[in-house]
């Protein structure tokens, strides 16, 4: 299980400082949910963690600074799925999931039998075996999200960075995807960092939460510590009531003004 530490992370895009002074830690096998208003920099944070944006400060996985790793080595530690992944309509599910093996395949070489076996077993685990030769363009929203997850899992990275994994999914599929992520992380000891815009949902699944606002960390801690009426009122400009639900997890309700 891999521990993620972030020290004094700052991201400047163009002339705009999007994030600065971000510090946090995620214990090995834990789930951190990053929340924040639209445009607060949640996705930017995730992309910086994945090494996709120039940033200052340090990101360490198990004490190893990612800055010192080659891109391929980094890709074996962190798997990243963007909010709206590009899914080439005529690529098959199997070929797409196989792309996750890229960090293990020689630059101009081709995949080994081992790579295909890993891919096949991931597809089987996500109940996608029967879809293996189907084109991505012929999948439903829920299936697409599972396929993206499969691609991230074939990477066999101990840290999973998921940007809004439930975007555009209906209620049932949101639940399925998050349950799946939770099962996988418990089974494999994956460390998960997600952005989630649904606060109650985030509060139900995450071990810890971080609220991003004003270009930095506004609050972090357990879901009960972060999801308070006062913090949400201030940073989301929303009037809410927070109730305590099952297992002491907070539930956020919108209140009509």
């Amino acid at each position: 299980m891999s521990r993620v530490e972030v020290r004094d992370l700052a991201v400047v895009l163009g002339t705009r400082t999007v994030l600065s002074g971000v510090d946090f830690e995620v214990g090995g096998g834990d789930w951190l949910a990053v929340i924040g208003a639209n445009g607060a920099g949640k996705s930017t944070l995730l992309r910086a963690l994945a090494g996709l944006l120039p940033h200052s400060g340090e990101v360490l996985v198990d004490g190893v600074p990612l800055r010192r790793l080659k891109p391929r080595q980094r890709a074996r530690l962190l798997a990243y799925a963007p909010q709206t992944p590009a899914l080439p309509a005529d690529m098959t599910v199997f070929d797409y999931a196989l792309l996750g093996r890229t960090p293990y395949i020689p630059h101009l070489g081709r995949e080994s039998r081992g790579d295909r076996e890993v891919t096949a077993s991931v597809l089987e685990r996500l109940d996608l075996s029967s879809f293996a030769s189907r084109a991505l363009g012929h999948l439903s929203g829920g299936e697409r999200q599972r396929v993206v997850l499969a691609r991230a899992l074939t990477q066999q990275a101990p840290v999973l960075l998921l940007d809004e994994p439930t975007t555009a999914l209906d209620l049932g599929h949101q639940q399925h995807v998050l349950e799946l992520v939770d099962r996988l992380r418990l089974a494999d000891g994956l460390t998960v960092v997600t952005t989630l815009h649904d606060l109650s949902l985030a509060g139900q699944y995450a071990d810890s939460m971080m609220l991003v606002a004003g270009g930095g960390t506004a609050a972090s801690g357990t879901p009960a510590e972060v999801l308070t009426e006062e913090l949400i009122g201030r940073h989301f400009d929303a009037r809410v009531r927070v109730a305590t639900g099952v297992a002491g997890r907070p539930e956020v309700h919108l209140e009509r003004p």
Binding site: L99, G114, D188
Partner: protein, 378 residues
């Protein structure tokens, strides 16, 4: 507000760890055995179909032509030229020379140029993640058009046969480099959108200069147009001229097929998979532009091949660039050999410009393929 409540805590025993551990010692997992044998591999059926198509069209193009030679005798003669075969074809020496010096290099050049353009088109489409990209997108055509026009106008017909190919090659490479430099200056970071816009700007600018040159020298218009519309009748000289560049660019493009597949999921994801996106894009662009420039140098500006052939291949053989690139290479060659056969036979002994044929025959063919393989576009 609807809330999702979380089902009871998962037991976790349903799942084995991902990957390696699931495979029992000494055996392959059930899933692995059920997995497709070859992932994104070059399917045998489409590959052999494309090769058959190429060989058949080359044979047809060798057997038929403006000169009146019996196809049977030509076939015997071709067999006679094979190593360790000795046959009497009954062709007169002059006919044999015509076959060897005109028809054979012409068929080969058509195959090479068609393959280069189709392969380059597929490469451009991969780099720009856009099925509408074609080999002339970045100013190769406009650059070659300008320099060739200049060469024709200023040389006034004298000068060696080398002048036009060299000018066309330099112009095509120069046009692409200009667009690339401009795109990087304007875009910073090498996004593809600015690169395409830079290509549009360079193309219009160079075309404007070319048109101006053309208008000042109307007497050369015929020669300029006949070059632009394309011709693969350059003979052995041109075959040898283009061969080394064709070989290098095609080898590089074919090697990069898998990386283009990785690129197709987007810059961010490709980079998160450990790929140096900017470098892959640059290498493929360079190789595809080299292929385009070499094709243009020996054949003029033949349109339609670079965009249509990869499309048809994608429809018939799947979307992976590991398949699209090699099959476009073979299929593009076959397509242009047939186009040239039509160009030199329909109004024999006169010839149609090959560019006219590729568009005239290619467009309906393309529509037919689109219609036959109709599917839901997403």
């Amino acid at each position: 507000m609807t809330r999702l409540s979380r089902p009871s805590a998962p037991s976790g025993d349903k799942d084995a760890p991902v990957g390696g551990e699931i495979v029992p010692p000494g055996g392959r997992s059930v899933a692995a055995r059920r997995a497709p044998r070859r992932a994104a591999g070059l399917g045998l059926a489409p590959a052999s179909a494309a090769c058959f198509f190429l060989l058949a069209s080359m044979l047809a193009a060798l057997l038929a032509g403006a000169a009146d030679m019996a196809p049977g005798k030509v076939a015997l003669q071709l067999l006679d030229w094979l190593p360790f075969v000795s046959l009497d074809s009954g062709l007169a020496p002059v006919e044999r020379a015509l076959l060897f010096e005109l028809r054979l290099p012409r068929v080969l050049l058509a195959a090479i140029v068609g393959g280069l353009l189709a392969c380059a088109g597929a490469g451009y489409q991969g780099v720009f993640r856009n099925p509408l990209a074609d080999p002339y997108l970045l100013g190769a055509a406009a650059g070659a058009g300008l320099t060739t026009t200049a060469a024709i106008v200023f040389m006034k017909g004298d000068g060696s046969a080398l002048v036009v190919p060299v000018a066309a090659f330099a112009g095509a490479v120069g046009g692409v480099l200009l667009a690339y430099a401009l795109g990087n200056v304007a875009g910073r970071g090498g996004g593809t959108a600015t690169l395409v816009l830079a290509g549009v700007a360079v193309t219009s600018f160079l075309s404007a200069v070319q048109t101006f040159l053309q208008q000042l020298n109307v007497e050369e218009l015929q020669r300029i147009y006949s070059w632009i519309l394309g011709n693969v009748g350059g003979g052995w000289d041109q075959v040898w001229l283009v061969a080394p560049y064709a070989l290098v660019s095609v080898v590089v493009l074919l090697l990069y097929g898998r990386l283009l597949d990785v690129l197709s999921v987007g810059d961010d994801e490709a980079a998160s998979l450990g790929l140096d996106v900017a470098r892959v894009r640059l290498v493929v662009l360079l190789a595809a532009s080299l292929a385009t420039a070499s094709a243009v140098a020996v054949s003029g500006l033949i349109g339609f091949v670079g965009i249509v052939v990869p499309h048809v291949v994608r429809r018939l053989a799947g979307g992976s660039y590991r398949v699209v690139l090699p099959i476009s290479l073979v299929g593009g060659g076959a397509f242009l050999v047939l186009a040239d056969l039509i160009a030199r036979t329909v109004i024999a002994p006169a010839e149609l410009p090959i560019g006219v044929v590729t568009a005239f025959v290619g467009a309906p063919f393309f529509v037919a393929v689109l219609r036959l393989t109709r599917r839901v576009d997403t």
